[in-house]
Amino acid sequence: MSPLLIVVLRVLAAIGLMLANGVVLIYMLRKVLGHLHVRLGPMHMGPKGVLQTTMDVLKLLTKEDVTPTNVDKVLFFIAPALVFVPALMAYAAIPFSETWRITDLDTGLLYSFAALSVIPIGLLMAGWASANKWSLLGGMRAAGQQIAYEVPLLLSVLPVVMVVGSLNMSDIVAAQSGLWFVIPQLPAFVIFAIAGLVELNQTPFDMSEAESELVAGFASEYSAMKFGLLFLSEFSNSFIMSAIGVTVFFGGWMIPFVPAEVMQPVAPVIFMTKVYIGIFFMMWIRGTFPRVRIDQLMQLGWKWLIPASLAWIMITGLVIKVWQLGPGAS
């Protein structure tokens, strides 16, 4: 096989994974929220409603794509793509197992975060181009909160990088064969979880599309598959954030005290299970918590999370230095 073909196949695999994930996650969201809310969720399409999301995708594909008169047509058209493509790009560096990955990047962690940080531009563009005040407010909120929380999000994984000494995701997983980083790095994980929820626009930080305040935020004027892309990228983002969390703090495809040979054949399954458990927790939070206010969110970010993550970086650095000078010196 030519190298080009392999690259094309890998990209197709990423797209396929993303679409399949979207369909599964939407169904999962509906069922999880349904059962949290003492109701059943979708029940009519197929057994237990499993075909509901498929039908929804078909509906979105066949619906009329309405472009309101006053929108900035170019930006209105580009924005969903600009949200969708980075979400797709971020799949590249995620290791599903030792061999299952789209590409093995030495700066994989940084690359994933870099890809995710392009998304606010797309959201702001969508909000601005929609010629709708609610969309504008939603886009502004999305850009504001995501840019503000990039900082604590990156700072929260830095201690792990310092311990491992590599940005390669496979190396980070390999370093956790004995102990998951969530135990020694618990404060970093807490900061990561909060900042990650903000990055994902998830409840309790879903300011940008707060349905009770801003109708649907930046997505108000979108319809048909353009809306579908915005919607899908959101689920894809939560998958990526959960995958990064699993890789950095929960040992990726590995389970402690189980020999690598036993795990190897089922590694992707273990990884996916962990990721889905992470997503389940996000949905749990989504179905339970009220929304914080935008000023409270910003205060939490700048006044608490950033200082806390900086302090934790310093503590980790000191411990590493003491270890190098003391017990680890020999």
Binding site: K133, D206, V215, P290, V292
Partner: protein, 402 residues
Amino acid sequence: MSDPRDDVISVGALAAEGTHSAGDPPAGIRRVPSGVDGLTTEHLIINMGPQHPSTHGVLRLLIEVDGEEVLAAETSLGYLHRGIEKLAESRKYHQLGTLMDRGDYVSGMHGEQAAALATEKLLEVTVPDKARYIRTLVAELTRLASHLVWYGTFGLDTGAMGQFLYAVRDREVLLDILEEISGQRMMFNYIRPGGVVADLPVGIEKKILDFLTDFDVHLEEHHALLGGNEIFQMRVKGIGTISREMALAFALSGANLRATGVGFDVRRDRPYDAYPDLDFDVPVGSTGDAWDRYMVRMEEMRQSVRMVRQCIEGMPEGDFTAKVPKVIRPAEGEVYASVESSRGETGVHLVSDGSPEPYRYHYRGPSLFACQVLEEILPGHLLADVVMMIGSLDIMLGEADR
């Protein structure tokens, strides 16, 4: 090139369309100057509603914002105006209840009760004891159902989806009970001048008591789900504070008034039906913010449960209605009767000219006054607080627009 600032319409300018001199504003009312300030931020006029998802029906707010901060707000009503007052002038007296059901459509019994009490005042009939107790019983059950809707939507307004359906689950049982009593889920038309339309069905007491046994637990669960949440407390504490003076100036009533520390309750201070016989407390708040309103309403639900129990225990024997002529022709006169509905003091001002139809029928909806105070408390808050405050005031547009 024209100054772009010319395009900015201010709500203040909208308000001053008719060029009457407004005079000095009274104490306690502030008018935030609108337009563009010295900085180069452009203010935005947002039209919130009547198709907005969380304006509780068809409330329309014109909000002037600087970024996220609300500078001025104007309430615009009338999207649900059906002319109930005019229609009542061509209805017979016993038909007034059907109109009141459609006023405050979430707590219909209270409207019917107000209309029936006003008619009885004109007729000077004595309502049998059993009818008084049945009325009080269904009124308190309706209050529970209505407060559960408020509780659920208040959570939705702050972004919490979880507790809404838990509240609706309890409300569903209540509506089933009310349906069994009256034959309808929300448009009851059960309370008529002179009494009620039918006796309680056999075995309903057990159903109600069974429900209350569950509800005692569920109510504390509801409180823990929403009120026990740190984020929710962060959102409501100290927000939307209404001072006592403002509450009196704007004639607030019900929980909105009591949250400011004024302990006026029609049930206690203008007793009607079986309330003089019942033992209940009137909860009051202290600061008048959204949290106090929440706590007062939650406590009201506990008191309603107490009252329902007392009504069932003390239910007397006897007739469920007094002898009232088929076509009611009250003497000429003018009366005012009010009840404590879920939202405040629902009053009926009735003028009779001796004919079978009311001459003038006026319906005082407490939500109309809550809508007014909204214009006053919104400035200075953030956009996210707007929906939260609409929820905390428990506005029902059916009775504001009538």
